[in-house]
């Protein structure tokens, strides 16, 4: 084998950080999921732009609960970042603590969203805005729930001693997804809660 290609140095074996197929796989998952949300938001803006009359029909939605939810999700990303930093340094306790905090914050988000949903004066069936609102926030909510289940599995696997300073690519891959769920929320939040206030 030519020297320029490979000098015979030892190579890592198996799933290693950004050299693992799983990490690249998650990037592509995020790419296709991001476009799913782009098409969802496109639908919102398209229907809004074509509507005669006020958009949103009942005025801009109240901010309180949504801001609360945003804070919880962003905090959950921070705790997860901190936990992942822990396992990189071999501190499995820090990882467990970060995972636990992020799961609790995610549950908090789901509860706040549930309260907001139950207080809406319209439903999926009321009009196009209602259909878009519940479908788009519902899609995001589903992602939060799936993400929280992933974090729960990581919690179990950490307890089983599967991860450590040398092996934690599964953690890094799932955390990537978790940050993505937070970023999607920011886009959803800006679309539904902030954009109507800018006109």
């Amino acid at each position: 084998m030519p020297e320029a290609l490979y000098r015979g140095e030892p190579l890592p074996v198996g799933s290693k950080g950004r050299l693992s197929s799983g990490w690249w796989g998650m990037i592509t998952v995020i790419g296709t999921e991001a476009s799913l949300f782009a098409y969802l938001l496109f639908s919102y803006f398209y229907v809004g732009a074509q509507t005669v009359g006020p958009w949103p029909p009942g005025g801009a939605p109240a901010l309180g609960l949504a801001i609360g939810g945003s804070v919880l999700l962003i905090l959950g990303s921070v705790t997860m970042w901190w936990g992942e930093k822990g396992v990189r340094a071999g501190k499995n306790g820090q990882l467990l603590f970060g995972l636990g905090a992020s799961i609790l914050l995610a549950i908090g988000f789901v509860v706040l969203e549930g309260i907001e949903w139950s207080h809406k004066s319209f439903s999926l069936m009321s009009n196009a805005y209602g259909s878009l609102y519940f479908t788009i926030t519902g899609f995001h909510l589903l992602h939060v729930i799936v993400g929280a289940l992933m974090l729960t599995m990581l919690f179990v696997w950490t307890l089983l001693g599967y991860f450590g300073v040398r092996r934690h690519s599964t953690v890094s891959i799932a955390v990537l997804y978790w940050h993505f769920v937070t970023i999607v929320w920011v886009a959803v939040f800006l679309t539904f809660y902030i954009a109507p206030r800018l006109t």
Binding site: M1, P2, L5, Y6, G8, E9, P10, L11, P12, V13, G14, S15, K16, L19, S20, S21, W24, G25, T28, V29, G31, T32, E33, S35, L36, Y39, L40, F42, S43, Y46, V47, Q50, T51, P57, L124, M125, S126, N127, A128, Y129, G130, S131, L132, T135, L149, M153, W157, G161, Y162, F163, G164, R166, R167, S169, T170
Partner: protein, 656 residues
Amino acid sequence: MAAVLTGTDALRVPVIARPADDASIAPRLDRIWETRKGLLGTLSSVDHKTIGKRYLVTAFLFLLIGGLEAAVMRAQLARPNETLLSPEQYNQLFTMHGVTMIFLYALPVLSGFSNFLWPLMLGSRDMAFPRLNAFSYWLFLLAGIFLYVSFPIGRAPDAGWFNYVPYSSLQYNPGINIDVYALGMVLLGLSTTVGSINFVVTLIRTRAPGMSINRVPILVWGTLTASVGNLFAVPAVSLAFLMLWMDRRFGSHFFDVAGGGQPLLWQHLFWMFGHPWVYAVVLPAMGIVSDGLPTFCRRPLVGYTAVALATVTTMVLGFGVWVHHMFATGLPPISLSFFSAASFVIVIPSAVAVFAWIATIWTGRPQFTTPFLFFAGFIVVFVIGGVSGFMTAAVPVDTQLTDTYFVVAHLHYVLIGINVFPVAGGIHYWFPKFTGRMMGERLGKWSFWIMFIGFNLGFFPMHIAGLLGMPRRIYTYPSGLGWDSVNLVISIGAYVFALGVLLFVINVWRSARHGARAGENPWDAPSLEWATPSPPPAYNFAVIPTVASRYPLWEDRLTGHQGHSSTSQGMLLDNGRETIGTSALDAVPDVILRMPGDSFAPLLLSIALAIAFAGMLIHSWWLFGIAAFISAIASIAWLWPEARLGQTTEIVRDRA
């Protein structure tokens, strides 16, 4: 040598071996990579070659089903006032013909080629995600069955393959027909998405050392471009179909005007997906030609870089032309002008590829074998389909021709021309790799000429029918409109074409049993897959090849090439299922990838998902719940960190 391989440690220097010197290597790799015999092996195999062949055979069966549907329609349309089919039956037939050909044949057949060929062309032992590969196949098969589930009871999808609202809304189409289509497409979308993910990551991670990005075969460029395109495009159609299903069954208002929705939103989402998809089903096929043609012209492809860039450019532009399917919907003229201009621009990369192929033939020494005939025939048909596409890209021309048979002619020239002809040529070309035998040349040439003549006889007159004003999707027509003889000619041509396809199938069937045995490289071809036995062993390469040029097997006779590729000496990697991971651009080795073994999880997960979708179809929520729960369990089992994959901290000593 075995003494060096003490275990799966965190770091290891790969052993460099020469299989010619050590007869124990092949049987050892066989034991590691072989799928066990019997039914259990069949259901759990993750071998990319097995999966590729399954894709090819399944897609081809769907082609035959779609062809039978077309044959019945052509019998109905052969004469005016024919009563062979009722309007309802005709609607279902033309819809299922389109759905079958476009979704269940055109892309899956190309996935078959790429699944089989990629690791062999790239010098790897499998795809990046072998289990995901099996999953994408099972899901494709089940989604195909799902889409046909209501066909026997006469309730198949019937609103055309692009399924416009309001015709497909509950009010005008109350049956289960459209629900089957909507949910089936979401299920199929999952299969396409995971397949695309696999191709993208395989390209980035698992090329042989030295196979830098400017040395990969054009088929790889084509499938890569199609896969990236699919990742961004498929969510649009999955979402549209989900919204439609919600409108129909949960009373939402995405597409109905009364509830404040927008019917045109459907067309936007559908074509935002639809047009990139058109390129996804042709670019890999164009890649087949770009890789096959040089073998039969005895020279490298003219303009490799230009063709690779044209492939990518076509897809990028393809995301900006969807409105040319909507010129007649009353959008503002300024946006029509933009999309018309963008559609014209696509001619440029297409022409680059065409001139590259012509120049390859012109300056080479063509050998008139069956694959060459199919590839050359493809170029002719592609040019005709391209010109009719150029015509309909002009707004005034399209306003006249939209929804007529002219468009039907155009899309068949494009899809049969750029997909079926290269696929038929590609099967002749790679048949020795698939089966170890050559396809019959005599019958092959007959099948080509009959297909080529029948195709042009059947589809060229459709241009004329369209110019005479014959609309698409009509189940019959009165006589006296001047359409009678042209339709008779179309039907005769269609049957001649079908006869050619039949001869091709007979040839495949016979050659798989009685064809002449093929050696490693019967065509004296240049790329890596021809360095393996025909058919290749389960492990593909006894040692990982090292690549030094675009045409590794022609290096000794091409001038101007530096360095030497090697398939006789390289990394052994026989410590369990392993292949080498290399850097994304230059393909420098940077990790030893541990590959999963055969598994039932992909099959179980696909069955559970299909049952969940069946539950949604019949509104059986407990069935949906159970199946969704099983899907979750199967996913967790699949993703459970495994020591032997190097996902946990444990150190395994598997060959002490």
